[in-house]
Symmetry: C2
Subunit: 406 residues, 2 copies
Amino acid sequence: MARLVLKFGGTSVGDIDRIRNVAERVKREVDAGHEVAVVVSAMAGETDRLDSLVRRVAPLHDAREYDSVVASGEQVTAGLTALALQEIGVSARSWLGWQIPLRTNDAHSAARIQKIETELLGARLTQGQVAVCAGFQGIGPDNRITTLGRGGSDTSAVALAAAIGADRCDIYTDVDGVYTADPRIVTQARKLDKITYEEMLELASLGAKVLQTRSVEMAMKHRVRVQVRSSFSDLPGTLVVDEDEIVEQQVVSGVTYSRNEAKITLRRVEDQPGIAANVFGVLADNHVNVDMIVQNISEDGRATDLTFTVLRPDLDKAVRVLEAVKGEVGYDALVSDSNVVKVSIVGVGMRSYAGVAKTMFSALAEKNINIQVISTSEIKISVLIAGEYTELALRALHTAFDLDAG
Amino acid sequence: MARLVLKFGGTSVGDIDRIRNVAERVKREVDAGHEVAVVVSAMAGETDRLDSLVRRVAPLHDAREYDSVVASGEQVTAGLTALALQEIGVSARSWLGWQIPLRTNDAHSAARIQKIETELLGARLTQGQVAVCAGFQGIGPDNRITTLGRGGSDTSAVALAAAIGADRCDIYTDVDGVYTADPRIVTQARKLDKITYEEMLELASLGAKVLQTRSVEMAMKHRVRVQVRSSFSDLPGTLVVDEDEIVEQQVVSGVTYSRNEAKITLRRVEDQPGIAANVFGVLADNHVNVDMIVQNISEDGRATDLTFTVLRPDLDKAVRVLEAVKGEVGYDALVSDSNVVKVSIVGVGMRSYAGVAKTMFSALAEKNINIQVISTSEIKISVLIAGEYTELALRALHTAFDLDAG
């Protein structure tokens, strides 16, 4: 007997037949003797529909009202899923965020979970009743509905798993696991049986859309075993676990990319202390996050070129902000480029292997791919390259690090 | 300065433009210095959509889950209406049933309101904030969402008006008031300026669809002044008030009809004590309500014919139930007829005027309309006639009681 949390995303509960399919899957776990809590998202498209209603009424809206409106999507699927379970003879009830209660702070639309009170819900689980929880939502200190931000249902599921001491949290989605690369681009990509929290966190942050970053952070913090698997097949998925559990660690576990980057270069910035702080300070003040940074000495050695990346949706704002302080900062010209992609390799094995960067850069050089900016962490190396080389780079790196399916 | 409750039905909040229109109306009352609570239904069609989702998943469903799913419709409009108010500079927030809290018993899908705690909401009203309440929903003793049954938002509004001591409860709908008859049938029908609770209650029970019966009962019990008016025009509506407030009372205030009746006749029932109790007892056991009843002595004087009406949707069940006890009850034949209509005249003035029944029956006789069953109360007379005479009967009665416009 184990205690499990099963989370189903919007496509998995996208219509009545799929909700019935979810119920069948849950029933199998119940029949196997497990205690099961289910977390559901809104039906695919429903959050967008509700979001659009709100934006049409009030482009700049009160986040408290927004949360109350959009949280209704998960309320509907939670009820329908509980009913579908009852229909096939499984004892079940729905739980809304305020009923559990799942308490959050008051940062409406991007709330952080503070405490999940599991006394009521846990007692029902012990009695063998399936708890179908509305994902994405909680209750704030002001007794109003909060939401956790897009993709928040993953976080709901992992947090619930931690709170009820679940043996595993299965995230059912429309892919059957975590791959060494996007299989739509790299046909040789392989599904990973296991991946470490750290790697998953880097992959999620770097653009892989399998799990929400915050949910992985939470899983890592509370050591929740997470499995990513498909709601449309019975294949085992990918287990996200502690490093100790992975015996044979590859040097590199995956190759990923993000097109959501844009590059800004400030030409001939005066080379004096405090200038960089000035540039990045004004961007931070305007809520523009800067990711990769590189500084080159200019040809005459009297000034530097400062290059960095921002998220693509922030590019226009960043340019506007920097042009407004041109005189103050002191640079010759601002050049922006949104035709760039960030390609990354990720692997905890990097820590103990030398030469990973060399292998990466050589593989790219062999294909005549110019590296514009580099950034690294303990377990990843990211490079910024021109957008048209994306596929070529991913395939070259996948082969160079022996990830191709055999 | 007055305290007002304004209730808007599904067509009044049917799309974004209409919700904006509602906000403008509310703003006018706020600008006039009033404290305003608003009660909203779900957008037109939304409750049906949610109802159908539930029924597709589970034809015989757990009413607790049903309530949680369908209550989401009002949750959405409450949020959107609060946002629309904020957009035009009116301080507003939404209140869900559990947030107020509006406490009900545990009769899910047909819950009765037990107590509305107005401390929090009342404090906000006093501060000048509009309270936008989700209609139709409450919270049960088990901390789960309950709903009040179809049309329940009228009841929510009247109950809230009673609880906060509102000076008036305006029910905005798609008609501009209560008419002496259905204007689609009787072109001479006039809008009433005022009507008594008792009359409105009879009209609601007898098929007029302007207000939900329970909301009128509640208004009468708590003496809440209710106004029925149109959300699409600025004309004053009909005020539902105490009898004392109506100086010049008509003998008859309105003529109404219901096609939702069916007639059953049991021929040659043995004329002995207890038989009627037997017949109506078995129907009651099977949850079939009987409305009008008439008993005739048969020609030979040794048996009686028993005729009564049931709601049309219950006809098949009633026939099945009665055929099963044919031997026990002892009758010769069962004849059913669903081609009937109940036509009623309503007016508190009847109490003090003799001859009302005579006027009614003569008017019908003049048009050669045969009366099949009669039932009366202190302030109404209903007759059952063949369906094809509906329009003729309504027009004749409207004229006979001096209700025609002009």
